[in-house]
Each structure stands twice: as structure tokens, then as C-alpha cells.
């Protein structure tokens, strides 16, 4: 009837079931490839293909050698896998840059809203306000790093992307954090490509620095609407500035721009 499952899919499914049932948990080690192969009745190469997939997806980490710490270990770090997926999809024209930017706007607006609201809650609480207050140490530190005048454009933009990712991390939502991590390389890509069309990089980077500080200030003040609008303008502003007219036609050989005869 339906397509017979390929051998590596059997392996993948078996591991997934073990995860769902709790037989495998983060920190556990997978059985050796050779053992899995005989246990599931498949060849070792099929086991390896499944493990490779899980590794790229961020589910596990492999290392050679012997003893504890070696072998395939469940880690469940979604960032890497999401990042690879987004990067490759953008490379294969699966994800238009405009959609990446729109998604950024939505996610980051939500992130700063949550952070600002958490700050406000912490302010209105007497006790333990330090523990309720979101931890902005990482983003603030990146703010400082971005002040260095010796930075190249690429270095600055890398720190910029990291700053936005650090905000997402601070919000504590792991799905959003992983998605932002995935978007990150795509973001860096379009930011760098667009930077060449700027009138003055010095002016723009100064503006970006100020906008970052304003966003953090709004979060710490617990002003969610302000944080939301600041982050929206920050992202949309840069994108509009760098990608206004040139939508890169680059379709096929027939990119002459002339109307087709027919």
C-alpha cells in the first residue's frame, strides 16, 4: 500500500519512540551504532544516516573514543538545527528575505513586550524583585562591545544579530529563541548585503547603537508599548533603508528586463 519505510527511517522512528516514552532522555547515551544495527536488523550505514540527521537537527552530539562522554549523546539543543535549516532554505530560495524580516518583526516585538512586562512586574513586587527581573546582562554586554570604533561592518552586524538573539534568550521562550537563532544567519546575510548601499556607515551604525540602547531602556523601564514600537522601527527602518528599490530580479536566463516577445 503505502511506501515501505526505508531502513534509516525505521531507525529514526525507533529513536523517536524511545524519546517519547522516556527511555531516552537528554544526557543519555545511544547504544553503539553496531549494536543498534543488529538490534533493528539494519546495516550500520543506515543507522549512521539516522544518527547524522539527529545530529544536524541538534538532537544529539557524537564523539569518538571510549568511556563516558564518547558515543552519541542526547543533547536537544535546537539552535543549531534550526539555524542550518533556515540557512539552507534561504540559500535554496525557499524563504524570501522579506518574509524573514516580517517574522523577525513579529517575534522580536513579542520578545521585548514580554521582557518589559516582566520588568514592570518585578518593579511592582516587593520581594525577590532581582530574581523576577529579566536578566539582561548578556545583551547589555554586547551593547558595550558594539561601541568599539575598531569594528568592521561585518563584525558590528554580527554583534548586532547576537544582541537580538540574546534578547530572545532572556525572554526564556525556547521555541522563539531557537527560531531567532535560525533566522540569525539569514539576518546577518541580508544586513551585510544591504550595508553596502548605505550613504554613511558611520552615521547608520551610530543610529543603530542609539536605538539598541533605547530598546533596552524601555524594557528596563517596563514600558512595553514603547519597547515594541522601538524595536519595530529599528528593524523595519534598517531594512527599508537597505532594501528599498532593488528587489534583486535574478530569475532565470531571461533577466534582460525586456518584455518577452510572444
Amino acid at each position: 500500500m503505502s511506501a515501505p519505510p526505508r531502513a534509516w527511517e525505521t531507525v529514526l522512528q525507533s529513536i523517536e519512540l524511545d524519546l517519547l516514552s522516556g527511555r531516552l532522555r537528554p544526557g543519555d547515551r545511544l547504544p553503539p551504532e553496531r549494536a543498534l544495527a543488529v538490534e533493528l536488523g539494519v546495516g550500520r550505514s543506515s543507522v549512521r544516516e539516522a544518527i547524522r540527521v539527529l545530529e544536524v537537527l541538534g538532537l544529539l552530539r557524537t564523539s569518538a573514543g571510549s568511556g563516558p562522554g564518547a558515543g552519541a549523546i542526547i543533547v536537544a539543543l535546537p539552535g543549531g538545527g534550526m539555524s542550518a535549516l533556515m540557512r539552507l532554505q534561504v540559500a535554496a530560495r525557499g524563504f524570501p528575505v522579506a518574509d524573514v524580516v516580517k517574522t523577525r518583526l513579529v517575534l522580536e516585538a513579542s520578545v521585548v513586550t514580554e521582557l518589559a512586562e516582566a520588568s514592570a512586574r518585578a518593579d511592582s513586587t516587593m520581594v525577590a524583585s532581582a530574581s523576577l527581573r529579566p536578566n539582561l546582562r548578556a545583551p547589555v554586554q554586547l551593547l558595550g562591545a558594539m561601541d568599539s570604533p575598531a569594528l568592521t561592518e561585518a563584525e558590528f552586524l554580527a554583534l548586532d544579530a547576537e544582541f537580538h538573539l540574546a534578547l530572545a534568550e532572556a525572554s526564556g521562550n525556547q521555541v522563539v529563541t531557537a527560531t531567532m537563532a535560525g533566522l540569525r544567519s539569514a539576518i546577518e546575510g541580508y544586513a551585510r548585503a544591504g550595508a553596502t548601499s548605505l550613504a554613511s556607515w558611520a552615521d547608520t551604525s551610530t543610529r543603530l547603537r542609539a536605538e539598541h540602547r533605547a530598546i533596552v531602556a524601555a524594557i528596563e523601564a517596563g514600558d512595553a508599548p514603547a519597547a515594541r514600537s522601538l524595536v519595530h522601527d529599528h528593524i523595519a527602518g534598517y531594512y527599508a533603508e537597505t532594501h528599498q528599490a532593488h528587489h534583486r530580479p535574478a530569475r532565470t536566463a531571461d533577466a534582460s528586463g525586456y518584455p518577452v516577445a510572444r
Copy 2:
């Protein structure tokens, strides 16, 4: 210095570069595995591992046989890959269900806002309003399918998840659509798990049907704030109803429910 790249990583990188440079585009066929292997100076199994990864990520589709249509073909369909990633991460406890729900709230609120605004724009435009108006045929059709009284809970919830995904598709944002597609199986999972704790499935499903219709109506009326709040209440309401008290302890052996002595 840094770790030497593993053979399959070289293959992956080579294909990624071909995608970025435009040497490979959607619809193209990859060279045969054996040819790639000799070209890159690696074994065929390493090529296969890289191809497997790309396949799971939704970058390409493989099929045996000969002639056009066979082989590995670039497709760039992000849904499948995202779905596998999210499903496995949830299975491995990488993504808490609460974060999945929060992310749903953010993304779906944005989706219906955009749809409603597009509707409003279409209303205020004289010409070609039909083409500007978002295409809600697919979600509306699912609404009809969900009316069937013969549906089991699982079937209803599957249609429900599909309805929400169809809304995302209608919004046209491919990144959001792919993310929702990824969230979909996780959503179905928690929805089904929670359904067992409902007082009356008949009542709840009737309410869900009505809420769906109200959301579509608000979109078609171009009322973005209403659509936003309706979809928020719809999702948050069901989640609260089904996951209020029991955070599924199921941690380890000590799931007795008794307070620990200490």
C-alpha cells in the same frame, strides 16, 4: 587548530555553496551519488549522509530509477524539515509545551492581523479587489469538514490544526507557514493529550467550531483587533482548559504525587 571537517560536512558545504551561487536551483537534479563522491574525493556513504540530511531538512527529494524525475532533486519545501525538527525537539524535552503555545499565540495573532488588514485594504479599493483579498477558501473548506458529527476527537483536532495552518498559508509568509507547520504536530499532540481531561467533548468542540467561524468572520470584515483577540482567546482558552493543573509530572521514578519527605 579547529576540528577538521568531517567528510559529510564537506559534501554539505559544497552543495550549500552551489545553492548560494545559483549553480543549483529548485527543480535541478544533483549529480549521482557516485559521481559526487569521486568529484569531492570522499566515499559514497559520506555523500549519502549529507544527502539524507538535506532530504530531512526539506531541501531535496530522492527517488530511484532512471531518467528525469529520478535522482536527488532540489525542492526547498521547508514544512517537512521544520516539522521533523519541532517534533523531535518536543519529544526530547527540548521544547516545553508552554513555549510552543506562546509561540503559536504570537504567530497566529500576527497571521490573522495581516489577513484582516489585507481584507480591509481590498474593501477600500475599487478595482481588482478579488485579487487583493486574501484567499480563505482552504480554511473555510476545513470549517465545513469540521462540522461533520461523525468525527472522532483525534480527527477533529487534526482538522483543527490544519485549519490554523491554512490560515498561516493564506497570509503568504513562508517562514511563518513553515514554523506553524513545524509546530503543528506538537500542537496536535498536546491538544489530543488535553482532550481527555475535558468535561464534555461535545460542548468543547461546539465552542471551538463557533470560535473558528468568528475568527474567519472578523478577518473577512477587516476587523484586525477583533480577529487578534478572538484567536488569542481561542488558543489560550483551550490550553488553559486542558492544561490548568496537571503539568504532567512524569519526571522520574518519583512521580508518586506525594510530597517528598525531607
